[in-house]
Symmetry: C2
Subunit: 183 residues, 2 copies
DNA sequence: TCCATGTGAGACATGGGTGTCGCATATGAG
DNA sequence: CTCATATGCGACACCCATGTCTCACATGGA
């Protein structure tokens, strides 16, 4: 009888990832509940988006845990991060877009922790001599987000094959476009 | 007396880049004209966005011309592209976001010509042996857009210094994160 | 069985943006 | 100067999403 809040959030996330402009009514229909019930669980659209943001943060945190960012070779860790976050890419893209759309220039507190986890990985790579030091960890973190999101959209638009997505993203971020001597 | 259409579009572009959710009234105020006059020049918000898209395409075309994409070393040409498009980055980010928001999965015809110009540059680099061939030109093109936009947002948010923006973007795209032997 | 809780359906008011119109006014060309 | 054109201002209706409410119904536990 009662609605599973987590499942409701997942459904909303899926729908909004595909159609970012979906209304509360659309979301309710997708979850097979009435709009009234949706409002009973989330005070309003604002509250729903906030909850989705928290969901995204939890998922991203879990993905970073699974990627074991502080273990082994830094480059391999970056590859694992990309592989683990790839299923979240579309959803994260929605959150970033939503954020950029309604409060450009501001940054939510919840993301700083995630940023720091990723930034720490790049710093580790720099300390160990595997990564170049003339690119700031903050910029590398931004670039990682951008490439993961771009990859998801490119797959969605059919410009990149889904099976190549992770490799393309990782290889570009790690090695760049220029042909290198090593590897 | 008469309104300069180009100047009006530029003003709208500036405002929407800063505040993507601006209403027609906001745009009219920013251009110091009445909302009625704005509607006399553009049938509606839809038409205005379309016109802004055309403006973006023209500016991007001009930037690619200025970058002389088919001259000299391919890597240098990529650097020039980034340098020339950097002033447009925020505006292009708005267009991409708007597009992704209202018609995800679709691609506008006008962009394919631009895509092909950039893609051709990457292909040239691959043919000349300067660029690696295991990353498709289509993906590299997407990545270029993503990094330029991300760079603009990072600057806007204060996470990257404006003076480092072009270098950071170009260096990451060309060389990647991994420390390389050359250079 | 009885009752509390949660849900569905629909109605309702509200707010904000949009699109259109009429009318007064200012500008520039002839 | 005269007139056509373009603009400003305000009003109006319209649409859509949102938020709230009521009432009836279903479910599950005591």
């Amino acid at each position: 009888m009662s609605v599973d809040r987590e499942e409701l959030l997942s459904t909303a996330a899926d729908l909004l990832t595909r159609r970012p402009t979906s209304s509360m009514d659309d979301i309710a229909k997708a979850a097979r509940i009435s709009r009234a019930t949706l409002h009973r669980h989330f005070a309003g659209r604002e509250a729903l988006i906030r909850a989705l943001e928290q969901l995204g943060l939890r998922r991203l945190d879990a993905a970073l845990d699974a990627a074991r960012t502080d273990e082994g070779d830094a480059a391999d860790a970056v590859r694992r991060v990309i592989a683990e976050t790839e299923p979240l890419a579309g959803f994260l893209g929605f959150l970033v877009t939503e954020n950029q759309l309604f409060e450009p220039g501001e940054q939510h507190a919840g993301w700083t922790r995630i940023d720091e986890r990723i930034s720490a990985l790049f710093q580790r790579g720099q300390r160990q001599g595997a990564f170049r030091i003339d690119l700031s960890p903050a910029w590398l973190t931004e670039a990682l987000y951008a490439l993961i999101t771009a990859s998801a959209w490119a797959v969605q638009d059919g410009r990149v094959a889904a099976r190549d997505s992770v490799r393309m993203t990782a290889e570009l971020l790690l090695g760049g476009v220029r042909r290198s001597v090593e590897e």
